[in-house]
Amino acid sequence: MRRGLWIHVVFQVGALVLALLLTTLILVAVGAPPFEAYASILRGAFGSSSNLERLLISWSPLLLTSAGVLITFSAGLWNIGVEGQMVLGAIFATWMLRSLQDTGVAPGLIIALGILAGAVGGALWAGLAGALKTFGGVNEIFGGLGLNFVSTALTIYLVFGPWKRPGTGSMSGTQPFERALWLPSFPEMQLSPWALGLSILAILSVYLLLRGTHFGLRLKAVGRNMKAAFLMGVPTWQYTMFAFLLCGALAGLAGAIQVTGVYHRLLPNISNGYGFLGLLVAMLVNYQAIWAAPVAFFFASLNTGSVQLQLLYQLDSSFSGVLQSFLVLLVLLGEGARQRFLKTHWELRWTRTPS
């Protein structure tokens, strides 16, 4: 097995180098000095304590969506709808905070209820995609995609309609909540220990769930072969629905944290692409939950670091997305190449040639 691990590492590193090479080409093509650009990404991510803080702030929702998507991935589901599930979490949290903010309920309780409502909202939205798949035969990719559009439309309707700021609604979102309703943060900082703690707890739980429990194993069996899982006694559609609900709850949590801990209001673009980015993280780590945390951290650092690029080289900050996508594509490509390589050069030890 030692040699197999070695080959694995070689291919992964190769993919990484290739991704860097391709992005370098793009940087050269648009006339930005590549090495300085990379340096500025690093500076943007780790250069100062406030940069590092921003990094951690964007790490936590990404951890949550990645954790959720790992569950649906294990069950063999492409939960593209995770983005919308995060949005619904934000909407539900906002709704809870709005309805309780003038009632005299203790602020701490309101925040807790808001976060809980977010999880419920995300789970419901995911449950809808799950029900469409299980009972309606709608592929979860199409169902999720459709529901994503609906969730965006719903946010815009709320921001410009019933929940608009006094006067006219604007893209900058609803009226910010009072400070008392903000998720408590570290002193002098915007980073909330609650958000960070919750997301780390979430990824650890998902890791344990998938690796060590009967639930996780059965989920995996459903994902690998639904018919076989059913014959082995696993209630398959229930597990599919469970996976959706859990993933939705985690995505909804991420949305609720964006509302209570980061923006303190509902924005049209509240999910900020963290759902899709979570899908990329999960694809990159190939079901291995343990790698999700560092990979999500890396992606978050690219995200926050590339904000600098706009200021320095008039490069849009979505450049980090280009780098991330290249990375995912090439790592998947590398994995395919590795398997081909193993197949031709190194048959599995127990493989007897079928007669």
């Binding site: 009967h214 018919k227 014959l231 006694g233 696993v234 048959e347 599995l348 127990w350 493989t351 040639t353």
Partner: protein, 506 residues
């Protein structure tokens, strides 16, 4: 045109010193074989003997490490299956490689390169003409996934001939097809040989090889250990195959007195078939074999008794409990288990290892998996069932025979009723005997077995009673002791049957 037009030239095939290894496994070792045109050459050997590897080398799926292939004395390099067909070599695989969601005609045209728009009318004409030549009934407008394995095979044969194949390689072609389809296949093979085509017939079934092949080469553990010509001496072939003589367990019914399964006036149907008013009583420990052409209703019946297909009338009573209309999981809790024929499609989960399978198969205890215990149990079952693999081996890395053993090893203890679809399809004699010895062990513990098989010998050898299905009609349960394969063959074909009628239980 990339494929040469149909030529009436004959082709001799020469394999010289073929070597092929996969890592440590030496699949072919110095194989020399000369096959003159117009012969049916049998390639006999047990699972893992290297038959498929040799054929894949010849048909361009894999490259030999060393050695030459000569066609009509001319050395050729075959780099791919497309290359092989250009040379006139075509292979029919164990599992037909076609495109289930397509119409037959489209499937037929596919892969033939010739302009952007295939000439469907001409293709249709030629398809019909070739099919009728071999006596195949192929409806060009039907969808491929509505075909049985046997019919898909016929389609594949016609396609290869249409592509101009002069050497046809058949890898275990009698696996999974009915007796009647087998007869048709053999007739077609003889016709092709008479037309001067060279046929390579790969099989582990002695009777097939003995009944068909003009010459036979036997492979064992990668070596070509001997060749034989008719009249064949079965015992010598067996000895060449296994390096020793093999003994079959004697028949020995272990029928008990308790009732396991009672069917009262059972009716089941799908879009093609109706089974009406079947009544049957299965005592504990009895083995019931279900015979019939594929798609005659035996599969539907088996799945309905497992709770996988909803019945439309009558009652199913399992160990005293009325299970009519209940789900498979309810049947499972009542002690029934169903093993599908499609191992990797329905029975096992690729990507998971043996330990994970064994943990999954048990009722979960607690929230967390005890992996250590799971691995220990997996190792025990691996030893018990003689599976070539480790607890950490992924299921898809095992050979077919070992996958089947794993599937059996996954069954819980004790079981009341075991429902099996083609329990030994595609397995060699040794594995078949082993698997049935394990199944008979279950019977001695009181488990009743109902199994479907297209292998008449298997039905006669291992059942206590036999039900024969023909177009949804079911014979009365027949005592297997009083049956011969000829009688069974006629019943399966719907001929000379004593008036097919609803079965009446013993």
């Amino acid at each position: 045109m990339p494929f040469p037009p149909f030529r009436k030239r004959l082709m001799n095939v020469d394999l010289r010193d073929i070597h092929k290894s996969f890592g440590l496994v030496r699949a072919n070792i110095g194989i020399n074989l000369t096959i003159p045109a117009g012969t049916i050459q049998g390639i006999l050997g047990e699972n893992g003997a290297g038959k498929s590897t040799l054929m894949k080398v010849l048909s361009g799926f894999i490259r030999a490490d060393r050695g030459d292939i000569l066609l009509d004395g001319r050395p050729v390099q075959i780099h791919s299956p497309a290359d092989a067909i250009r040379h006139g070599l075509g292979m029919l695989h164990q599992d037909p490689l076609d495109f289930p969601p397509l119409r037959i005609l489209d499937d037929f045209v596919l892969g033939r390169q010739g302009g952007l728009f295939p000439d469907r009318a001409a293709a249709l004409r030629e398809l019909r003409q070739l099919a009728s030549q071999f006596g195949f009934a192929i409806d060009p407008e039907a969808y491929v996934d509505s075909l049985t394995v046997g019919e898909r095979q016929q389609l594949e044969i016609v396609r290869l001939i249409w592509w101009g194949a002069r050497v046809l390689i058949f890898d275990e072609p009698t696996t999974g097809i009915s007796a009647a389809q087998k007869e048709k296949l053999f007739a077609a093979l003889r016709l092709m040989a008479a037309q001067g085509k060279t046929i390579l017939f790969v099989s582990h079934k002695l009777e097939d090889v003995e009944g068909l092949c003009h010459r036979t080469a036997v492979l064992r553990q990668g070596y070509l250990v001997g060749e034989a010509q008719p009249p064949y001496e079965t015992s010598r072939l067996v000895e060449m195959m296994f390096g020793k003589a093999i003994e079959v367990e004697a028949r020995n019914p272990c029928r008990g007195n308790d009732s396991t399964l009672t069917l009262k006036d059972l009716s089941v149907e799908d879009y093609r078939l109706k089974i009406r008013g079947l009544t049957l009583e299965v005592p504990s420990g009895e083995v019931i074999g279900l015979a019939g052409m594929e798609g005659s209703g035996q599969g539907l019946f088996l799945r309905s008794v497992a709770g996988l297909v909803r019945t439309v009338g009558g009652r199913i009573v399992l160990r005293g409990k009325d299970m009519t209309g209940r789900s498979y999981h309810a049947f499972k809790r009542q002690g029934a288990a169903f093993l599908p024929a499609a191992r990797l499609e329905e029975g096992l989960a690729t990507g998971l290892d043996l330990t994970e399978h064994f943990v999954l198969a048990e009722e979960p205890r607690g929230f967390f998996v005890n992996w250590q215990e799971g691995r220990r149990r997996a190792q025990r079952r691996i030893d018990d069932f003689n599976i070539h693999g480790k607890p950490s081996s992924r299921i898809e890395s095992l050979s077919g025979g070992n996958q089947q053993r794993a599937l059996l090893a996954l069954l819980r203890e004790p079981l009341t009723l075991l429902l099996l679809e083609h329990p030994t399809r595609g397995l060699d004699v040794e594995s078949t005997i082993y698997i049935w010895s394990k199944l008979r062990e279950r019977c001695r513990q009181g488990t009743s077995i109902v199994f479907v098989s297209s292998d008449l010998e298997e039905i006669l050898q291992y059942s206590d009673r036999v039900l024969v299905f023909f177009g949804g009609k079911v014979t009365a349960p027949l005592d297997a002791g009083g049956l011969t394969s000829e009688m069974l063959g006629q019943l399966i074909g719907g001929k000379a049957s004593p008036e097919p009628k609803p079965g009446v239980g013993a």
